[in-house]
């Protein structure tokens, strides 16, 4: 388990979900799907991972009330950078007026890139290298279909991390990671097509998540029952529910953070949108367990304790975005995807 010398807190959080939605039942590959009422968010024709990340980071900064000059690092986890040779982190630093002596970088190639960015931010702040760091993640849908892409969604999230103080909305009690080099889902350079090893992939997910959660819980001396809210990877409804069962979780622990039916699965965030949904409604002293998973990468998990300062913050922004939507049909969906994968904006 990882534990920083200084106690670390979340100062602010923000998420962005595009306005457009498609119902999963309107996707040809989802015919016969057991979850016809699910829907996912789609980027507008002029949106991409950069524009979405900027919205999420701005919201997080607004909530944190931290001046831009105090931010020492901005990390962005993504698998859909519109550039193949330019980090989103630097574009964000310019767009937000934070260029200069700031560490700006991207974390790529993993479905849990955002939680990897979060782990690194804990280290940067915990070691005293920077006062505040931003961990963000943003993704647009990489391809129109394919196995495993049914629930792939678009969106972004960001967290402002600092040393725990009276203004922190939650403290991070500890984190853990479990790395396993597995060919469960992957794609090769130059090809957008994703390959999946089927049933083996589900086994890898369960193995990694359970290992990282167990490591975290044993390090903290806690059990799954000690958590008021639990957020697990949400690549599809079946794997999330199977995992919950294997970890001995109750449905009420999963309820607030299960956003897959309304928001889809924003890949590099791997469930961190669920954490934002929980923070939108959490009460002081509640404990939150978050576990993420990236195919071929492993799993990260975090334990958070909600602090009193959360009561004074304006919340509910993410839940408001979930309900503010415009449905598009499959034809428009394909048109939007085409625009977002290299066509003119």
């Amino acid at each position: 388990m990882f534990r920083t010398h200084a106690r670390i807190g979340i100062e602010g959080f923000g998420a962005y979900l595009p306005k457009y939605r498609i119902r999963i039942r309107d996707l040809p590959l989802a015919h016969g799907s057991p979850s016809p009422d699910f829907e996912k968010a789609i980027c507008g024709p002029d949106e991409d991972a950069v524009t979405m990340a900027k919205e999420a980071v701005e919201r997080a900064l607004r909530m944190a009330g931290v001046g831009r000059g105090k931010i020492g690092s901005i990390l962005c986890g993504t698998s859909s950078n519109p550039y193949s040779g330019k980090p989103i982190g630097t574009i964000l630093s310019k767009a937000l007026g934070m260029e200069g002596a700031i560490l700006a970088a991207d974390i790529n190639f993993s479905g849990k890139s955002c939680s990897e960015a979060l782990q690194l931010c804990l280290g940067l702040v915990g070691s005293g290298m920077v006062d505040y760091a931003i961990a963000s993640g943003s993704d647009s849908i990489p391809e129109p279909g394919g196995k495993g892409a049914t629930y792939s969604s678009c969106g972004a999230a960001a967290f402002v991390i600092g040393r725990e103080s009276g203004s922190s909305i939650a403290s991070i009690e500890g984190s853990s990671t479990w790395v396993m080099d597995a060919l469960d889902t992957w794609s090769v350079r130059g090809s957008a097509q994703r390959r999946n090893s089927g049933r083996f992939a589900e086994r890898v997910l369960a193995q990694c998540v359970i290992a990282s959660v167990k490591d975290l819980l044993s390090g903290l001396g806690l059990s799954p029952g000690d958590f008021d809210h639990v957020v697990l990877p949400q690549s599809d409804p079946k794997s999330a529910l199977d995992l919950a069962k294997r970890l001995g979780l109750k449905p009420e622990q999963m309820e607030a953070g299960f956003v897959l039916p309304k928001a889809g699965n924003v890949e590099s965030l791997s469930g961190l949108l669920g954490l934002i949904a929980v923070l939108d409604v959490a009460k002081p002293s509640e404990r939150i367990l978050v576990a993420t998973f990236g195919s071929g990468a492993g799993s990260d998990s975090f334990s958070l304790l909600v602090k009193d300062a959360i009561e004074g913050r304006e919340r509910g922004d993410f839940l408001n975005q979930v309900s503010k939507k415009a449905y598009i049909d499959h034809k428009a969906y394909l048109k939007f995807l085409n625009r977002n994968s290299g066509g003119s904006a």
């Binding site: 524009t51 900027k54 310019k94 066509g343």
Partner: protein, 127 residues
């Protein structure tokens, strides 16, 4: 747009950075070197609020080069809280549902992809 020009204009296109005259308080957007109200040369950079209301709009059905994939789209004149009026694209809307006087807010979006790089800049969307 050239790369140097894009980078030079990024503060105003991506952060809505204007100028405020220290002499008479007038706000300008885009930024100016000389105040158009009092002729003062002592101006400071200031980020504008990015919120305002839609004064007038039109819908572009036959777009110019570089905007073909976005049509039909709306452009409008937005009056910011600071009193400045700006011509901008209106994003995230059904052009048929736009109304004069609607409250709008700034967003950063892809403007176009031309010359091998992506131009990001401000648009407005209904609140």
């Amino acid at each position: 747009m050239s790369v140097p020009n894009y980078l030079r204009e990024a503060p105003r296109r991506q952060r809505m950075e204007g100028t405020r005259c220290k002499g008479c308080g007038a706000i300008h957007f885009p930024p100016r070197a000389v105040c158009d109200r009092c002729g003062g040369r002592d101006l400071e950079r200031e980020e504008l609020s990015g919120t305002g209301e839609l004064v007038a709009y039109t819908v572009i059905m036959y777009p110019p080069k570089g905007f073909e994939n976005q049509a039909p789209y709306a452009i409008g004149i937005v009056q910011l809280k600071e009193g400045v009026r700006i011509l901008s694209q209106i994003a995230d809307c059904d052009p048929m549902e736009l109304r004069e006087g609607m409250r709008v807010e700034i967003v950063i979006r892809r403007i176009r992809e031309d010359g091998g790089f992506i131009e990001y800049g401000y648009k407005f969307r209904p609140v």
